[in-house]
């Protein structure tokens, strides 16, 4: 007959070298359930050959020093955050067997959000939830799983549902979610049930190794010290006080029908692929500034209702400005004012380094609706110009001294060009003709970049751009006689 040798699991340390002293004794109280749970996990790790791949959370609570005993990687986390930290680890190092070991205060109170959402995302982590119905390490305070009427240091008259609510049943809660693949509650009250716990823990770790997703095993566990119960009587205590509210059993098990997830592969990108992904056009060139433009600084404001394309209009001008060799900044209005109200973007084009991108004094205003014209007209500097859509704005307010107004039926022109939404680009065409700052190809390229994702949009917008320029040439002196970019007087 073969000789059977009983020994500690390999995944347990021989001597507790991570402890600074008393390296041969545990820090747990006599009769504590953590030791049993640790042993079952270490044994499963060893037997399934997972020790060298496992990383275990050291949670806040009595098990904070579980890494004294486990001979594997460990991460000591903030209270309740184990599932979030393990999400991070398992996402970036998918070969890790990610174990979130947590107590009841950790998981069911301060870490409720993390446990629910990592379960709901179906993270590939195994959670071992030690439910002993009390805060052990901090000295016997009420836990979210403390039974009604139980006295603790923070429920000295007994837990009352009226003020402290009811014990939270975690397995029932988690199994309402679709993503978890295995949820079971086990109990450490009898040797037979400890064997049941052993089976459940192995099943969860095997599911981890098989990349099946999120598993949770709740372990009803004794805490004789804080319960003030004789260690030999804790089994009875669990049966009497915990089993009625935390019924052991399988709450969800779809392991058999759940396929293993493919392991995410890290793909190496070449430098060229990376720059292409980041939208770099290696062939793009920046032109030299045209003569006569060696020193100027222009501030633009594009304003209208949200949806009229004033944000994009600013981007197009900034793009054309950059390609033409100017310094540029573009700044959108952002936040609540964009929803439903007016939107605007500011652009600065300069031959010098640009200070503030915020435009206080405007040289060129493009207003697509009445409220925008009214709001920004007073900001236009003497010598500046205003392009406005004369379709909605029939009678514009009086222009400040030295400010030139350009009424443009932009929507009509856009419609005739076959793209009703391109009134913004029509305005760009008008400005391009009077301002004479950009070569045609530069503007065409800006449109190509902006509309690359939309089929047919580049051509339609090019037509709108040309229609705007045609309108300008037939109605206004083009290019403007004085300063480049701005029509004066």
């Amino acid at each position: 007959m073969a000789k059977k040798t009983l020994q500690k699991p390999k995944a347990f340390q021989d001597v507790f070298t991570r402890k600074s002293r008393d390296q041969k004794t545990t820090h747990y109280c006599p009769g504590c359930g953590h030791g049993i749970a640790h042993k079952l996990i270490a044994e499963a790790m060893s037997d399934l050959g997972l020790q060298d791949r496992s990383t275990i959370v050291a949670p806040v609570g009595c098990s904070i020093f579980l890494y004294y005993y486990f001979d594997c990687r460990s991460l000591s986390v903030p209270h309740g955050r184990g599932p979030a930290a393990m999400t991070g680890i398992s996402r970036v190092r998918p070969d890790t067997i990610s174990i979130s070991y947590q107590g009841d205060g950790d998981l069911a109170a301060i870490g409720t959000s993390e446990i629910i959402h990592s379960a709901n995302r179906g993270e590939n982590i195994a959670v071992f939830f030690i439910n002993n119905a009390i805060y052990g390490m901090t000295g016997g305070q009420m836990a979210p799983t403390t039974p009604l009427e139980m006295r603790t240091t923070t429920s000295p008259r007994g837990r009352a549902s009226e003020t402290e609510g009811f014990p939270i049943a975690v397995c029932e809660l988690i199994s309402t979610l679709r993503a978890p693949v295995y949820v079971e509650r086990v109990s450490l009250d009898t040797p037979a049930n400890i064997l049941g716990a052993r089976r459940a823990i192995r099943k969860a770790l095997q599911a981890q190794a098989d990349r099946k997703g999120f598993t949770l095993v709740e372990i009803l566990s004794p805490c004789p010290t804080q319960w003030r119960v004789d260690p030999t009587k804790t089994g009875e205590w669990i049966r009497e006080n915990m089993h009625p509210i935390f019924k052991p059993g399988v709450y969800r098990d779809v392991l058999a029908e759940t396929p293993s997830r493919p392991r995410p592969e890290r793909r190496e990108m070449s430098d060229g692929e990376m720059y292409a992904l980041l939208g770099i056009d290696e062939n793009a060139t920046i032109r030299a500034l045209p003569t006569g433009c060696e020193d100027f600084h222009l501030a633009y404001r594009f304003a209208g209702f949200g949806g009229q394309g004033v944000i994009l209009l600013g981007m197009l001008l900034a793009q054309a400005g950059m390609a033409s060799g100017y310094q540029v900044t573009w700044l959108p209005s952002y936040g609540p004012e964009m929803r439903g109200g007016t939107a605007n973007s500011s652009v600065v084009l300069s031959t010098r380094a640009i200070g503030s991108p915020m435009v206080a004094e405007t040289d060129v205003l493009v207003a697509m609706n009445g409220p925008s014209l009214e709001k920004f007209l007073p900001t236009v500097a003497p010598g500046g110009c205003v392009l406005y859509d004369s379709d909605p704005i029939e009678t514009p307010p009086a222009a400040p001294d030295g400010v030139h107004l350009y009424p443009v039926p932009a929507r009509d022109i856009a419609q005739q060009a076959g793209e009703a939404r391109a009134a913004n680009v029509v305005m760009l065409g008008v400005y391009a003709a009077i301002g004479d700052l950009f070569e045609e190809e530069v503007l065409a390229d800006a449109l190509r970049k902006a509309f690359a994702a939309k089929k047919g949009a580049v051509e339609a917008n090019r037509r709108a751009l040309a229609a705007g320029a045609d309108y300008a040439r037939s109605h206004f002196p083009c290019p403007a006689p004085d300063r480049p970019g701005v029509m004066v007087k």
Binding site: T87, I89, E114, E268, L277, W330, G335
Partner: protein, 350 residues
């Protein structure tokens, strides 16, 4: 030409990808959303990890986990979200884990508003979370620096094993400017301490709890020694026309750009004004400011807050010259004319 127009927030994502950042974890908040959105779009395409976390707290703890496993990782947020992350940042600092966090600062205590602000200066530069730690704080003022400083942040985070902030305001985050993409930096060195599967790493432990008083003290002292090294070696600042300046303006982030325009205007009026712009807030350019204070008649600090950096300037100046403060709060940038008026008055007083 490896140049593209992009938003400051987008430039953080681009910088992170170039710096071999493996994962982004974040939660939506204005005015930092383009960081999450950019990462959501680009990270999976580059074979990197993106997770939208259920909360700011979860996001920083995902960073905590991923960083413990040796991955370069990024998160981004703004004021209220950064407050929530502070617990995790304190743990990162004590466990000596690298991480890069972008704070696109918005206005005010409480919900405040979403306009540009520098009200998080104290929160970031003085620690913010519990215990004796500092974080490196970089202060970009352009889309280009948002990219470059993010790359630098990853390098510093790994080198010093510490969290690093890229700290700017809603204006720099939202604005678009041309960004020249640098060459890809070298891949990070392997991290033998990391929690990566393997028999040789079984003994690796990442923790921030040390029960013995003497052991805890030695850990805290080790952190302080590291901060001293950082203070000695990693200061970055830029000066503009300070050689003969009678009044030195000090401002960072978007304010420094307004101040540069102020210097030009003031010089055209014949006022001898210069600018010092800290590009790192911790470490702070104490030496550089002290030096200028020996020559200047006075120093004017301009911030988008109630006067937070000015305290560090006063410590550096140590009463060698008067230090004045001009603050703007609520979301507007300071007007060039208002600062000029202040300068003219100072010239008369000084």
């Amino acid at each position: 030409m490896r140049m593209r127009l992009m938003r400051g927030n987008e430039a953080v994502v681009v910088g992170a990808l170039l710096a071999h950042c493996e994962a982004f974890f974040g939660y939506p908040i204005t005015p930092a959303n383009e960081i999450s959105e950019g990462a959501a779009k680009l990270f999976p395409l580059a074979g990197r990890t993106f997770v939208q976390a259920e909360s700011e707290v979860a996001a920083i703890n995902m960073v905590f986990g991923a960083s413990s496993a040796g991955a370069r990782c990024l998160t981004g947020s703004s004021g209220p979200g950064i407050s929530l992350k502070m617990e995790g940042i304190s743990y990162l600092a004590c466990a000596e884990l690298p991480a890069v966090i972008a704070d696109i600062c918005r206005v005010g205590p409480g919900l405040g508003n979403i306009y540009p602000s520098q009200g998080d200066y104290n929160q970031l530069v003085k620690g913010g979370g519990h215990g004796e730690y500092r974080v490196i704080v970089l202060a970009p003022n352009s889309a280009q620096e948002m990219c470059d400083f993010t790359i630098r942040a990853f390098d510093l985070a790994d080198r010093y094993r510490t969290p690093v902030f890229v700290f700017t305001d809603g204006c720099v985050g939202q604005m678009m400017e041309p960004v020249h993409l640098p060459d890809l930096p070298p891949k990070p060195e392997p991290k033998p301490w990391a929690l990566i599967p393997g028999a040789e790493t079984n003994s690796n432990l990442v923790t921030s709890i040390f029960l013995e008083a003497s052991e805890m003290e030695s850990i805290i002292l080790k952190l302080q020694a590291k901060y001293a090294d950082i203070a000695r070696d990693e200061v970055l600042c830029e000066t503009y026309r300070t050689e003969d300046a009678e009044i030195v303006l000090v401002g960072f982030g978007i304010v420094s750009r307004v101040l540069r325009s102020v210097v030009e205007e003031a010089r055209s009026e014949g006022l001898r004004v210069g600018l010092l712009r800290p590009q790192t807030l911790f470490p702070f350019p104490t030496e550089q400011i002290r030096e200028l204070s020996e020559r200047a008649r006075s120093i004017l600090v301009v911030e988008l807050n109630n006067g937070q950096m000015v305290e560090d300037v006063r410590l550096a100046v140590a009463e060698r010259c008067p230090v004045e403060f001009y603050g703007k709060m609520g979301g507007e940038l300071p007007a060039i004319d208002d600062i000029l008026a202040r300068l003219r008055a100072l010239m008369v007083e000084a």
